[in-house]
């Protein structure tokens, strides 16, 4: 179909002859697009860096499971065991000497304690083993004038709920060793005022 082809060619040639082109504008447009693309990538890159900087601390495990402020990521729901440094035994204050008229007593027997400093103290004392002075075995209630029930010993952890007499005096106090107390060396200390202690041997 040569006629059709010739006509189409002629039509295309006519349009081609009428066409105007501007190569410089092609170059300018291409370079502008390249700059925009580069700027866009720069902005995206910067946004990615900012996002990463913001996310990293969020994802980092919080120290001691402390929640991160406004964190979208919940902290570990399983709280680690809380570790507290508590001394197992309270350091014993330096004790003064408790005056003891007799350092040897029989189980169930009595002995007299005096305060060298003549200070007023409660009529209660603690009794512990000399080998474990921090573990009180008994609370000793001294003889109180007018109270026939005194002196007596209260076993720690055993006879709870017994009212303690609120008698105070400068001493001397007569104390009773608990019955059935095994023979050995025991430490007797004041429970009020400056700490005074003395050793009593149970025969």
């Amino acid at each position: 179909m040569p006629d059709l082809q010739d006509d189409l060619q002629a039509l295309a040639d006519r349009r081609a002859a009428e066409s105007t082109g501007d190569f410089d504008s092609v170059l300018t447009t291409a370079r502008t697009r390249k700059r925009r693309r580069t700027a866009g990538l720069t902005v995206i890159g910067a946004a990615a860096v900012v996002g990463a900087v913001a996310i990293v601390p969020t994802l980092r495990p919080a120290a001691n499971n402390v929640p991160v402020a406004e964190s979208p990521v919940p902290t570990n729901a399983v709280a680690p065991p809380k570790v507290e440094t508590i001394p197992s035994t309270k350091p014993s204050p330096k004790a003064g000497a408790l005056g003891l008229k007799s350092t040897v007593a029989a189980a169930g027997g009595q002995f007299v304690a005096t305060f060298p400093d003549k200070q007023v103290r409660a009529a209660t004392f603690s009794l512990s083993s000399a080998s474990k002075p921090d573990v009180a075995l008994y609370t000793l209630v001294a003889k109180i004038p007018g109270d026939a029930t005194t002196p007596y010993a209260i076993r720690m952890g055993g006879e709870m709920g017994i009212a303690m007499p609120s008698y105070n005096g400068p001493g001397p106090y007569t104390l009773a060793m608990p019955k059935n107390l095994p023979a050995g060396s025991y430490r007797v200390c004041t429970l009020s005022g400056a700490l005074l202690c003395g050793l009593v041997t149970v025969s």
């Binding site: 179909m1 006629d3 059709l4 082809q5 006509d7 189409l8 060619q9 039509l11 295309a12 040639d13 006519r14 349009r15 081609a16 002859a17 009428e18 066409s19 105007t20 082109g21 501007d22 190569f23 504008s25 092609v26 170059l27 447009t29 291409a30 370079r31 697009r33 390249k34």
Partner: protein, 162 residues
């Protein structure tokens, strides 16, 4: 970038490409826009495309696809708003509106592409099929339908001249 080589290539092929694309669009102004866009896309790839056996085929294919995209988008716009006429309206600025061009504009865009590549760009049926990614049989059938339609316009024109 080898700007001078690209400038020579532009000078040599831009006018002819505008002529080819204007047969697809029916408007020289639109064809110039499309060809300009095709060359803008060529600039960053020139170093690679210039080593091709026929760099002009690359630009022509880009322009061809741009024209098809515009045509498709234009049709969508028309269907969406029902305000623009569906049929082709020649651009008065083109100062040319012959029977053949009107008949060409009446063809579907895929058929127009086949006609332009085969008759204007002198590509064989196989080359057209390869360029458009369609079967040779499809190219042949589209050419056949196009010939029927366009020959009518040629006959009409012959009758007018007679």
């Amino acid at each position: 970038m080898e700007t001078e080589g690209l400038r020579e290539f532009y000078s040599a092929h831009q006018p002819r490409l505008v002529g080819v694309i204007s047969l697809l669009t029916g408007s020289r102004a639109e064809a110039e826009d499309i060809v300009q866009e095709a060359f803008v896309r060529l600039v960053p790839r020139w170093e690679k495309v210039s080593r091709y056996e026929a760099p002009e085929a690359w630009v022509r294919l880009v322009a061809l696809r741009l024209a098809a995209n515009r045509h498709r988008d234009g049709n969508r716009f028309t269907q969406l708003f029902h305000r623009l006429p569906a049929e082709h309206v020649p651009d008065p600025a083109d100062r040319y509106s012959g029977d053949l061009e009107q008949a060409l504009a009446g063809l579907p865009m895929p058929t127009r592409q086949v006609v332009v590549l085969h008759y204007v760009c002198d590509l064989s049926v196989a080359q057209v099929a390869d360029a458009l990614g369609i079967a040779e049989g499809t190219v042949k059938s589209r050419l056949s339908r196009a010939r029927d339609t366009l020959s009518d316009s040629l006959l009409l024109r012959s009758d007018d001249h007679a």
